[in-house]
Subunit: 515 residues, 2 copies
């Protein structure tokens, strides 16, 4: 393993290790993933057509309710749906036709640093941190409610890694801020502490509008009207209901030419059937209706087809993660989204564990592999998620990022060229000898293998000497070091002032609300 030849040369060439570290910096990695490997195809043409037909039947025979948004009902009526109160019923194929008529199959989400722009759709994948946890946890302070400081820390940590391409949205709930003003500081943190693309508020249409207004200050109003600069992650009230506020949030983003991420949340057996094919068809139908709503509001505006399909414990009814049923659903919805030609969102490094232990890691990997191989274009919850999204973990965030880097390398596929074939190496080395010092190895050594920053690959004895650490203890050191080394990206002071002025004006305009 430690052939002197290569170790000597390494020293002679001066700090291969430091070069490797430099390679790890954000600038040398692409701002998003381009998958050069094919997606996994689970279902055949007949199976896919059956799911699509089922989605059509659900939308026609059961229908979908948009409760409390008359404009949305009218938009769909004008497009050919039948309305009965809030209940809409769609002739077969109508929703698909609306979606396909104008939804972009891929789009650029612009970042304030153009080098960080991401392409969402096609054979591209964008990784974004976990979203929505009221709690945060770390090894030293334990589990507690999230604060703005925690929120800012996760924005900084996402900014610092090349393996997350997106700053995310509600990376944790800053519960120390009033409910009605949180969104302003969250959006500002993404804008100021990072220069990556981000997500805005979705809790009310007014907060969505505030998020977009801040974008107009940052990017310029004319630019925003022509380009996607913000996403809004909107949950469907499954089964088959969108409440009026959520529907207005979708329309707010679409009207501004920004991208709603339309996400049915289906815990099989509760918000949908326990059988995967049924839950999948429901999810697909619901997400299509929401994407269609955005298109009716503004044709050609960007959108992402989302899904969140989870299984359930037979013992307790609690949601479970990393199980095979959602994996199968991911594979299939990847195929359905490609047929629909709409960018797909899947999550992520999901788990039920309360701590960043082996349960957390197995379940996360079991969610991430199908999300990645199904060809998802936007992978939310790629880092930090614990406990069914209730808690954002600093150490889990760091570990998950290591995994995201591996998927980035996997996406490059296998090089098939003379250098990769290494025939010169075989001829040089021959049977029974080591490749360590060979010219082929020396030529390729530095770029050969992805390495997990927080994994320990040393001997047992070295590991003992270094304190017998569990990976979570190494991850603790990593995030603390990263936050210590963090440097604020520059911003035009006039823009910053305009953002702060808007925020302070909004805050002053209404009393604090705490629920």
């Amino acid at each position: 393993m430690s052939d002197p030849t290569i170790l000597e040369r390494r020293t002679r060439h001066g700090g291969r290790q430091s070069k490797h570290r430099a390679r790890g910096a954000a600038q040398s990695h692409p701002p998003y993933i381009t998958r050069r490997i094919p997606p996994y195809a689970l279902l055949d043409e007949e199976g896919l057509a059956a799911i699509e037909a089922l989605a059509d039947r659900i939308l026609e025979e059961v229908g979908f309710e948009i409760r409390g948004d008359e404009e949305a009902i009218q938009l769909f009526q004008s497009a050919g749906a039948r309305a009965d109160g809030w209940r809409l019923r769609f002739p077969k194929g109508l929703v698909r036709a609306i979606v396909q008529a104008s939804t972009p199959s891929q789009f650029i989400q612009h970042a304030r640093n153009p080098a960080r722009n991401v392409v969402i759709g096609g054979n591209h994948s964008v990784f974004s941190p976990a979203y929505g946890s009221p709690f945060v946890t770390d090894l030293e302070r334990g589990r507690r409610y999230g604060t703005l400081e925690d929120f800012q820390n996760f924005v900084k940590l996402a900014y610092l890694t090349p393996f997350l391409h997106h700053s995310g949205g509600t990376v944790c709930e800053p519960v120390d801020l009033p409910v009605n003003k949180r969104h302003l500081e969250m959006v500002y943190a993404h804008m100021r502490l990072s220069d990556k693309p981000f997500m805005g508020s979705v809790t009310t249409a007014a907060r969505a509008a505030d998020s977009i207004a801040l974008c107009r200050l940052l990017f310029g109003a004319a630019f925003v009207d022509k380009n996607c600069v913000i996403l809004g992650n909107v949950n469907v009230n499954s089964p088959l209901v969108l409440d009026g506020e959520a529907s207005r949030v979708i329309r707010t983003y679409a009207r501004a030419n920004q991208a709603p991420v339309c996400v049915p949340f289906i815990l099989g057996g509760a918000m949908g059937p326990v059988t995967t094919a049924g839950a999948l068809a429901q999810c697909f139908a619901e997400a299509m209706v929401c994407v269609a709503l955005g298109q009716l509001e503004r044709r050609g505006s960007p959108a992402i087809l989302g899904n969140f399909l989870s299984s359930m414990s037979l013992k307790s009814g609690a949601p479970t993660f990393g199980t095979p049923e959602p994996a199968l659903a991911y594979f299939a919805i990847g195929q359905l989204a490609r047929r629909l030609r709409v960018p797909l969102r899947c999550g992520g490094n999901l788990c039920a564990s309360k701590v960043p232990d082996a349960q957390a890691a197995y379940e996360s990997a079991n969610s991430m592999w199908p999300a990645f191989l199904c060809g998802a274009n936007f992978i939310l919850h790629a880092a930090g998620w614990l406990e069914g999204a209730l808690t954002m973990s600093y150490e889990k965030f760091i570990m998950d990022v290591d995994q995201c880097g591996a998927f980035q390398t996997l996406a490059n596929g296998m090089a098939l060229d003379d250098n990769a074939f290494a025939m010169d190496g075989f001829l040089e080395v021959g049977p029974g000898r080591h490749f360590l010092g060979s010219a082929h190895t020396m030529r390729n050594y530095e770029t050969a293998f992805y390495e997990f920053e927080n994994s320990d690959n040393n001997s047992y004895e070295q590991w003992l000497e270094e304190g017998s650490l569990d990976i979570k203890e190494r991850a603790l050191k990593t995030w603390k070091r990263r936050l210590r080394d963090y440097q604020l990206p520059p911003i035009d002071p006039a823009v910053d002032e305009a953002l702060r002025a808007f925020i302070e004006r909004e805050k002053a305009a209404s009393p604090d609300a705490w629920h």
Copy 2:
């Protein structure tokens, strides 16, 4: 989550939980996996042909040495290879032609309990425990050398789970036994403590012969001559060398119509090139030669094409696991093996971690997903592996088995029938209501979702009350309970007596050797 309707019904129906537990017992699960989902196709026809051509070039231009086995050299010479001392050079396509002329594309490995027979090849997968660790570890006693008692414990644990289909081979090294007599007690433990199929000794040809002799006593000599009842896992001395003892072991198994598993072990940059395509072609070439050797010894005898491709730490030269490069190689070798029409071995739940922490789990899942999706037929190291195969962990074994169960469910694919489509459920429930008490849910609830036995899906508060356990602490309880509840499977006393007599005779015939 805890809708009273279903919880009431559950109680009324009396112990759904105990039924679930019963479903978990070995008898109700199939003895091996039949994959109803397609394998993942990484490379296209052109890419696969390029790798095959490279393997041909390596075998022709560099060659392959069988050092110290003149019979093997002669067998290949007679088949058309050119020999120069121990170095063989093969005209393009020769090795492939030998392999394809007679190697079965699938075969049955018989168990002494016919209900445990496994099919190796085709669209079947067999999971087998980890192999070869000198050390064992558990949470209470820590890391120590393995003993026969540990060996027996792992055989019992593999016997007790429906998610391992195979008893394995050297599940750990029983270092308390003399080196030259270990194999007898190892094979006996597999035969006596389990009734699943197993692997024999490969350290010398004589020990391989002993392993087969014991099989003749257990299964009958005539049966053994006609049927596969034992596998022998033989490592190639990569690059491009097979030592004479290993080659005689391959021939010993093949001559007895038993299956050698031919496994190049390639740490990229050491025993092969650092570039994946080159290492893959080398591995494929080496494994094909070994399979061909078995065919030349006895045409039509079963064999398994193995591979072990690992990456390396740039910092230390240590092997690394769960990285993307071996994953890509797995995907490709799955395709190559199918084109060759020979059963494929991949491993498993591999990792470098010293403890069953999140590192162990991420890396293991990253190895297992590509091993499974590439269509591997025999997955060695499916449970227990820690620390690059140096240590067998009781807790990791239990956790890995949970994961194996998930892949078994994944393999079933997605049901596409009226029940799975759940249209009756949608019509019954409608928008905005819960599926929990619906007829469709009640009809499907019990079989809906796979659940990890050792995962905690409870609320944070429940988890705190139960002691804030890491999964490894739950796994500790599980393996101790299982070993406590273990019951010896019955065996014909006359056969048992014959086995013991053979073993005692062999032991008495030579002095103990300790290295």
